[in-house]
């Protein structure tokens, strides 16, 4: 049950998308998001949808996995669709109706925009391990160090948080099972009852999270960890030919969308 959460999960593989430098992928996602918000017409949306579909094929991520990740968003998607259908002015589809052709078109575009946005970021997290992702982020943010922004500390905290999400989920699962075995009931009852039923899970979870944090700090200190100063990496990130090609394609996509916008397509 809890283990089925795929949000931000990494699917190991050996496709070109997996081999790209994480910095490249991060930049590509940024370019893609900017392009997405520049899209105005059907042609632009068509191009972006095709791009995402092509990326999915290249990285061997099935539509099923994407849908699984989209499931928790269904409510937001539906709300966006409904609001846009009813609150956009224009020509009614039938005389006297509030629903307009423009509203329908806008609703489809808005929902598509959110779906593409989520899918694009999923492609990043599905093909990049959390460690590579934070490494890439740290290198990209490096210039901020000049402004005394604690880049290394921030990224190490991020990678630790990401690292411990599955552990904590597993732990929660275990504690819930153990309490269920003692007859705890998490699924029925009023909202208040259910909130109260979480107490037997939260207390042990907090206790173990603090214990874990303590152990981790000791383990890091006993291996002489003292921050980012003078720290080297086992995996050096080096931009290769394919990274430059991918970035060029990304910029081309953004330029293309902006060009289309000019023509109102």
């Amino acid at each position: 049950m809890l283990k089925d959460i795929t949000l931000g999960q990494f699917f190991p593989g050996d496709t070109i998308a997996h081999r790209l430098d994480p910095r490249t992928k991060l930049l590509l996602v940024v370019l893609f998001i900017v392009a997405l918000f520049q899209a105005r017409g059907w042609v632009a949306y068509g191009v972006l949808t095709l791009t995402v579909a092509a990326c999915m094929t290249v990285s061997h991520i099935s539509a099923r996995n994407i849908f699984k990740g989209l499931k928790p968003m269904i409510f937001i998607l539906a709300l966006t669709g409904v609001l846009n259908i009813f609150y956009t002015g224009g020509t009614p589809i039938l005389p006297g109706w509030i629903i307009t052709w423009e509203g329908i078109a806008r609703a489809i575009q808005m929902v598509l925009r959110i779906v593409l946005l989520i899918t694009g970021t999923f492609l990043l997290t599905y093909t990049t391990s959390p460690i590579a992702l934070t490494d890439g982020l740290e290198l990209l943010l490096n210039p901020l160090k000049k402004l005394r922004f604690p880049v290394h500390e921030m990224t190490i905290m991020m990678s630790m948080a990401l690292r411990f999400i599955p552990t904590l989920i597993e732990e929660t699962d275990k504690i819930m099972s153990a309490q269920k075995a003692r007859g705890a009931d998490f699924e029925t009852g009023s909202l208040m009852d259910r909130a109260k039923a979480l107490l037997p899970v939260l207390v042990p979870l907090f206790v173990s999270a603090f214990r874990r944090a303590d152990e981790l700090a000791v383990a890091m200190e006993s291996r002489c960890y003292h921050g980012g100063e003078g720290r080297t990496r086992m995996k050096q990130l080096i931009l290769k030919g394919r990274d430059y090609i991918a970035l060029a394609l990304g910029i081309l996509l953004l330029a293309g969308i902006i060009y289309l916008k000019k023509w109102g397509l």
Binding site: G13, R64, K174, A181, G183
Partner: protein
């Protein structure tokens, strides 16, 4: 009563993703009421998955589990009821303690069964008695006790539900020898008093050999051996080959046999080994 029948049980984790694995496959077992069963197997052999099917925490991907003649996954109600009938103590159960006092923590299970106040009180005292927790500890916070005491309180929390079947996953992991012995004695005492079925998952072969009437060996999600301690440990070499330990006495007997001593197979206690050696020496002297 609560005879457990497992038929063609199979469980697949993460079905439909690249991580799909069959944790257990084709398990057929009958565990009669009152038996003390030891389950052994290497890490990842499927024992933990298997025991979570016994009280419907996990639903089988295929096959079924019956307890007391009823399919436990038949309905929501049967899935809830079986949790009262089959008590499951997880590995490191002390990590699930959460109440302010020891008493309240032990009372959590019976309270969930919606019993009356007197009944709960009686059961808490009885369960605490089984695991040797004195009443002075009742008002203390479970978090400030020693590891062994926490473990016993957690086990009491399950025993307080008076399960007809008690399942324990590695109940002695991480305890000192005295703590181990005490917990196993507590469990045996519970079984003798109530006639409950007890299933113990353990890595400690000497413990299993000493108390279990029947030993089931898991390997790669399947049952590979099933029999009395004598039967299972007479296949000591096979056990070692699948990455498991054997009791001290069995290992010693195996080594002596390799040296040419004509010892019988199926030795698993030091007494047996001693008498077997004495027999051979006696024969030699005569």
């Amino acid at each position: 009563m609560s005879e457990i029948i497992v038929e063609k049980l199979r469980h697949v984790y993460s079905a439909g993703t690249p991580f799909e694995v069959a944790a257990i496959e084709d398990i057929d077992l009958v565990i009669p009421q009152g038996q003390l069963v030891g389950i052994i197997g290497h890490t990842g052999s499927g024992k933990s998955t298997f025991i979570q099917h016994m009280n419907a925490l996990l639903a089988p991907s295929a096959g079924k589990v019956c307890c007391g003649g009823q399919d436990i996954n038949e309905s929501k109600i049967s899935r809830r009821d079986v949790k009262h009938q089959v008590g499951l103590v997880f590995q490191y159960p002390e990590y699930q303690l959460f109440e302010e006092t020891v008493y309240k923590d032990i009372a959590f299970g019976p309270k969930n069964m919606k019993l009356s106040e007197e009944e709960i009180d009686q059961r808490v005292r009885e369960a605490a008695g089984f695991v040797g927790v004195e009443e002075e500890l009742f008002e203390k916070s479970p978090l400030e006790l020693s590891g062994g005491q926490k473990r016993r309180i957690a086990i009491a929390g399950v025993i307080a539900m008076r399960p007809g079947v008690l399942i324990l996953d590695e109940p002695t992991a991480g305890l000192d020898p005295a703590g181990c012995r005490q917990i196993l004695d507590n469990i045996c005492a519970y079984r003798e008093k109530t006639g409950a079925t007890v299933i113990i998952v353990s890595h400690n072969m000497d413990d299993v050999a000493r108390i279990a009437e029947r030993i089931i060996v898991f390997s790669h999600g399947r049952v590979v051996m099933d029999g009395s301690a004598g039967e299972v440990f007479s296949r000591a070499q096979e056990l070692i080959d699948i990455g498991l330990d054997v009791p001290h006495a069995t290992a010693l007997a195996l080594a002596l046999r390799k040296q040419g001593l004509q010892l019988p197979e199926g030795i698993y206690t030091h007494e047996q080994l001693l008498s077997a050696i004495l027999e051979i020496r006696g024969a030699a002297v005569c």
